[in-house]
């Protein structure tokens, strides 16, 4: 029944390149003696850039299904892969300077990231519950290890373990859900599931079981994007993991998981939309509320950013709940903008050093406007953007999702979104207050990382945030094109 088709392999050339490249890099790392981090990291970045370049130049055009319809290659997957590769490049460039000369300066670090990226590529292109699971696990396993990468630190080990245990539970939920769906539809292939469900072929009582399966799968996905109430791991893991890993967590996997949710909601579960939308709405509202309110009392920057990412995923989900093409396109745009802002924010935090480590406490930033004015202004711009203040990029992301929600008559969501943005603005602007209106701690001026690459990454992110207003349409058009084929 299976005939090996060489064309299929060509079609997934980026994934092949990543897989082969990552394994080669591992070998390079093993053979190179000592101090292999930097060359391997550089090669990894090179690998990703080449892969992304290949994706850019080999447009999907027609939607393609390969390997017995296990994987799908379309505009959406293409754009998401470019986002993932871009985010990974930024995260790795920031990370190298952070972990260099620490116990973490090992070549496995970029290689693990590369495997994670490969897994995410598969997630984004998944068109089958099995492909989905394999991709998800490949990325998740790499991330578990990365979380505990600072192996001398008990906090990091704890974070890695927590992430692993809870991630295993979510994988279990995913598999349980997948088996229920398979049991009642007779297939793991998305298109078949969709066709079966929309034909109403599942009889009365069974439909409950299908819904349960759907809920289990969606919950597992919600865990990956750390949406409430599956978010509990996020603050602990963000705080415990090395800052560079946290940055990677905050930037890249979110995109892949969100892309997968979009794939599921518009694909196999599309016939169940009337039952699924309220569930997503509840998750979105809960995420926005928790993201806004729980962050208020945090004193650690990383915990704060954890809640910030929870809230931001809530806003992004608003676009999905809207369920329209406008909403999906707003979601994609939101993800891109959020990614860039997060890169910038972590860039500032990782450039500022206290005792050779990235800053951890919000109070560490007090008086930053006097000691490091440029970084204070950079972070201030990013925080204003995060809280959605025009004319910065963050405003346009929020505006797009709320606009989509209003257009889809989801007024309650839009209102809650705007109100929680106000609450969230408090803690973003609180950081600015600490930097500009509090006296610096005595005799403890923050050090500065000497890495020029990190500065370039930060500068690029700032430029994007500041200049976005000049051409807000371009990203909107890209997002709209990418999401065009999703809704039938």
């Amino acid at each position: 029944m299976t005939v090996f088709n060489f064309n299929d392999v060509v079609a997934i050339a980026p994934e092949v390149m990543l897989a082969v490249g990552s394994m080669l890099l591992m070998m390079v790392g093993v053979t190179a003696r000592g101090g292999a981090l930097k060359p391997v990291a550089l090669l990894t970045v090179f690998l990703w850039v080449v892969t992304a370049g290949y994706i850019c130049t080999h447009g999907a055009g027609e939607t393609m299904r390969v390997f017995e319809d296990m994987l799908v290659l379309d505009d959406f997957a293409q754009l998401m892969k470019i986002f993932i590769a871009g985010g990974a490049v930024a995260a790795l460039l920031l990370a190298v300077a952070d972990i260099d000369k620490t116990v973490m300066a090992r070549f496995e670090y970029p290689v693990l990231m590369s495997f994670a990226v490969l897994g995410m590529f598969l997630m984004v292109s998944a068109n089958d519950l099995l492909a989905l699971y394999v991709g998800l696990e490949l990325s998740a396993l790499s991330l578990y290890v990365l979380a505990a990468f600072d192996r001398n630190s008990t906090r990091a080990s704890e974070a890695g373990l927590k992430y692993f245990v809870l991630g295993a539970i979510s994988s279990g939920m995913l598999l349980f859900g997948a088996s229920l769906i398979y049991g009642y539809t007779g297939s793991t292939q998305f298109d078949v599931i969709q066709a079966t469900l929309s034909a109403g072929a599942v009889p009365g009582p069974s439909s409950v079981v299908v819904l349960f399966g759907m809920i289990l799968i969606v919950s597992a996905m919600a865990f990956k994007i750390s949406a409430v109430p599956f978010h509990m791991w996020t603050p602990d893991v963000y705080e415990g993991a090395p800052t560079s890993v946290t940055a990677f967590f905050a930037i890249v996997p979110k995109i892949a998981a969100m892309a997968l949710i979009i794939r599921l909601v518009t694909g196999p579960f599309e016939p169940l939309a009337s039952d699924l939308q309220p569930v997503l709405a509840i998750i979105a509202v809960a995420s926005m509320l928790v993201g806004a309110f729980a962050a208020i009392v945090q004193t650690s920057i990383k915990r704060l950013l954890a809640y910030s990412s929870i809230g931001n995923m809530g806003y992004a989900l608003v676009g999905l709940v809207a369920g329209t093409h406008l909403g999906l396109s707003a979601l994609v745009m939101y993800l891109a903008i959020y990614m860039v802002m997060t890169v910038g924010t972590f860039g500032v935090i990782m450039l500022l050093r206290r005792d050779g480590m990235a800053v951890e406490k919000i109070s560490d930033l007090s008086g930053l406007s006097k000691s490091r004015p440029y970084y204070a202004y950079a972070l201030a711009i990013l925080m204003f953007s995060m809280s959605g203040i025009p004319p910065l990029a963050g405003f346009f992301g929020k505006y797009a999702v709320f606009q989509a929600a209003v257009a889809a008559n989801a007024y309650v969501l839009a209102v809650i979104g705007v109100l929680t943005s106000v609450v969230a603005a408090w803690y973003y602007i609180n950081i600015i207050r600490v930097m500009f209106f509090e006296e610096p701690k005595e005799g403890e001026a923050l050090g500065l990382s000497s890495c020029p690459v990190s500065r370039i990454v930060l500068g690029a992110s700032l430029l994007f945030v500041l200049l976005f207003i000049l051409a807000p349409q371009s990203l909107a058009v890209i997002s709209a094109n990418a999401t065009n084929g999703l809704l039938k």
């Binding site: 409950v208 919950s219 039952d275 309220p278 309110f293 729980a294 962050a295």
Partner: protein
Amino acid sequence: MDALPVFLPLIGFLIAFLFGKQIGDRGAQFVTCAGLIGAAALSVSLFFDVALGGNARTIEIAPWIASGTFEANWAVRLDTLSVVMMCVITIVSSCVHVYSVGYMSHDEHQARFMSYLSLFTFAMMMLVTADNLIQLFFGWEGVGLASYLLIGFWNKKHSANAAAIKAFLVNRVGDLGLALGIFACLVLFDSVQFDTIFMQASSQSDAVFRFLGHEFHALTLVCLLLFIGACGKSAQLGLHTWLPDAMEGPTPVSALIHAATMVTAGVFLVCRFSPLYELAPFAKDVVTIVGALTAIFAATIGMTQFDIKRVIAYSTMSQLGYMFFAAGVGAYGAAMFHLMTHAFFKALLFLGAGSVIHAMSDEQDMRRMGGIAGHIKITYVLMWIGSLALAGVPFFAGYYSKDMILEAAYGAHTQVGMLAFWIGIGAALMTAFYSWRLLLLTFHGKPRADHHTMEHVHESPFIMLLPLFVLAVGAVLAGYVFYPYFVGEEVEAFWGASIASHEAIHAAHHVPSWVPLAPTIVGGIGILLGFICYQFTQGIPETVSRIFKPVHALFFRKWYVDELYDAMFVKPAWVLGRRFFKGGDQMIINGLGPDGLAKASRAGSGVLSALQTGYVYHYALTMIVAIVALMGWLLLKLKGLI
């Protein structure tokens, strides 16, 4: 070019205010003084062109508001009424600007002070050159703002801040009347343009407003509402309480704003609206009575006060009363005449008083002065000139204008006119008396100040005396020179179309021959009484005040108006405000709104943080519970139970 005198002060203000730090105090003084002197020169040339040449015109500057048929423009209306005001404003203001250079030389914020003076002058010029009610209101509020800023200029002094707020709030009451008057004009004439309003006035003379089931004569209502505005700005009885307190400001401010210009805006407004007042006889009677009562009321208080500036302030109020009852009996020319002469001699008196205060090391209480005539001879002589003009001694400026007012009141041959005439005569007696009481207490007798102050008594510098000379010339000559134009043979040609009627002026020239003499005679008696009480004998004032203790107390405590208002308005407002603030704002709005929400957010945040226990099994449980809850919810929904 014609609009330049209006905008030179604005330019001066902007430069001094925005760049005061850069150009320094000297620069600011130079810019503002130069602007004002230039404006004064241009105004005088306009006076020759417009008033004497009969060349009235309006210059449109820019459109301001255009909404449907409603239209209001920035414009400079040049007719005799406005150029007279412009001359008075710019000349007095120039004098005050120059004087301030010397008077404020020890102040830390001279640039700011000069800029405020220029701002005031600009606003006042906008007010008098307006050709519609909206621009007039702009100027009206502008002078109010400048007055507020300048009264409270020494903002470290609590009493100055209190006085500034009081002036602002009391003026609000009057401004409400003015605003309502403007609305009424708009309703009645469908326009705020002066020309349109005056043209249609006679056709609307029978119009009525219906309000709460009553009918009101429309023009009377408009005039009364405008008069309420005038009362506020010109400190007429009822809305006068802010003026004496405004003396907390620096003395040049008192001279410029609270004697010569801003407080006369009300008189100007009534004269400007003479075409309407002529058609509203009842409103004219109200103006007359209020004016006359203010004249005598303020004079009684002026006789008992000891603060040199407050005496002059009450004198100002009293003289404003004269102007109003002149306008009330229809002698608008006479009102403007007195306005003009009064500006000179009252500014002279104030600046002279400032010179005295300067000499006495900031002492204002006349009970601690005396015996300084020999030390500051020039000021002494100038104060004499001012007092002679104020008391209406023949051939000084005040003589011509005050006589004219009283003759016009008599010549009206109405009961109200007669009342005003006799009250005016009484007030003239008191005016002369308190003027000489002031002169004698301040300059004559034995020194009552401590020897430390007396050692420092010195004549003011030349820069402060120079403006006094200019004003003194006005106080001496203005009456004689301008008499024919303002109220004499040339009256019709001079005023042109800017004033509706001169009947009362003509009638005033045909009164019994004792009438013109009466003010002079009572003035003489007043001066004599002053000498008897404070120079030739001793102890009379004390005896008199002891015998008429209740009356003296009534006058000295300013008829208890402040106390009355305090009990009637201020205290209840405080209580109400406190209740709204504490109960309404702080408890309800803040409690449920900002503060309450913030507190609830923090509490909620705390709860959410507390849920974050750090135990994996708690987290796992949460996930399971969430899934079960979502499933249960879907199940119920599917069964139609939700």
